[in-house]
Symmetry: C2
Subunit: 222 residues, 2 copies
């Protein structure tokens, strides 16, 4: 038991060092890195497709897609005319900073936003810093309003919580206020958004938050 | 990198040995152990509540609930008048056989069904045998029909696939036939069920499959 913990700590130690290096490199170029984290099927790729549509006219974007198998998500982003790199982990349940480090040299230095979509898993990715400045956790209404306390680390380590599929909330006995309050009880600093890919609600607010975060990053550098 | 792999193999080796011991012990008593595995919010606890309602008049049941934090799921099962043990993993992303082994001495020997609800995670639990005879993977329609190939190990190692929230399929652009065919391309032996906790479809079929599996286990022992 003790050995497992030590090995895990070492792995995280190395990961944190690699992540810190990525953050320095990316932020020195004025690039905002955003890590999207959620259960499978919560709508990460769909949210990204819509953010890409809203931002691509004004900003230069790059996307890293993490999946255990398949290039499906990267193909969906490429279909929007945005460069996307697929990392297939071949079984691993989360992205690690060293995986991002391998892709980084290929990403143009004049990018504004670097989106990283993690493997669909509400547990393990929360323990791995990828060098991002903003971590967004998504919670879709069909998953239930009781999930923050059952999977606390994802909510504790995120900067923003994006409720997705809000058009279904009424059908599903999902209480958005309960989900928000439970998430805030874990992490009172969370920025909160309620979105739907079907009716478009909340998407402009998410895009606006990311643009403000980019501006803050760049004004901090100036 | 090599060291990580060796450590993981050792962990799984030990887990497999513990799991084999659990399976021998449980099956020698004629108990059918069932491991339920899925993403967070796919409906594992709701399915269990409904199976409990259907089976508890005729059979004696016990339930082990795996969660990272909270006793919420065990409380839901206890409210049905069935004994439930909550394992809170305190951060770990899956149940392991040794966790089941610790609970096992408390479970009455005259139980017919032992249900184990795993941590909500479509990735990591697939690698850990818990000594079950039947592994069921749940896929809820809001997660999308493209998930089997993205998370293949859960589908490869399961005996049955239970589509849940089928009442929502029409609203969600979810093609059940695509999901089934993709899962069968990974594992042609999967038993397939389509269920809804709202309209009750498919639940009798799941209960029937479990009862048949119990009878097969017991006739094999006779």
């Amino acid at each position: 038991m003790k050995k497992e913990v030590i090995v895990l700590k070492d792995l995280l130690g190395t990961n944190d060092q690699v992540a810190a290096g990525i953050r320095r490199q990316v932020e020195s170029l004025g690039i905002l890195a955003v890590n999207l984290l959620s259960s499978p099927g919560s709508g990460k790729t769909t949210l990204l497709e819509q953010l890409v549509d809203m931002l691509k006219g004004r900003y230069k974007l790059a996307v890293i897609e993490g999946d255990i198998e398949t290039e499906r998500d990267a193909e969906r982003i490429r279909a929007k005319g945005v460069q996307a790199w697929q990392i297939t982990t071949g079984g691993a349940c989360h992205l690690e900073a060293k995986m991002i480090g391998k892709v980084l040299p290929a990403i143009p230095a004049d990018v504004d936003f670097l989106f990283i979509e993690n493997v669909g898993n509400l547990v393990c990715p929360a323990s791995f810093d990828l060098g991002e400045r903003i971590r967004c956790v998504l919670l879709s209404t069909p998953e239930g309003d009781d999930k923050p306390k059952k999977y606390p680390k994802a909510f504790l380590t995120a900067h923003c919580l994006i409720l997705t599929k809000m058009d279904l909330a009424g059908l599903l006995d999902f209480d958005p206020e309960k989900a928000r309050q439970e998430a805030l009880s874990i992490n009172p600093k969370l920025e909160l958004f309620s979105t739907s890919a079907v009716d478009g609600r909340g998407l402009e607010e998410v895009a606006g938050y990311l643009v403000r975060s980019l501006e803050q990053l760049r004004s901090g550098r100036a």
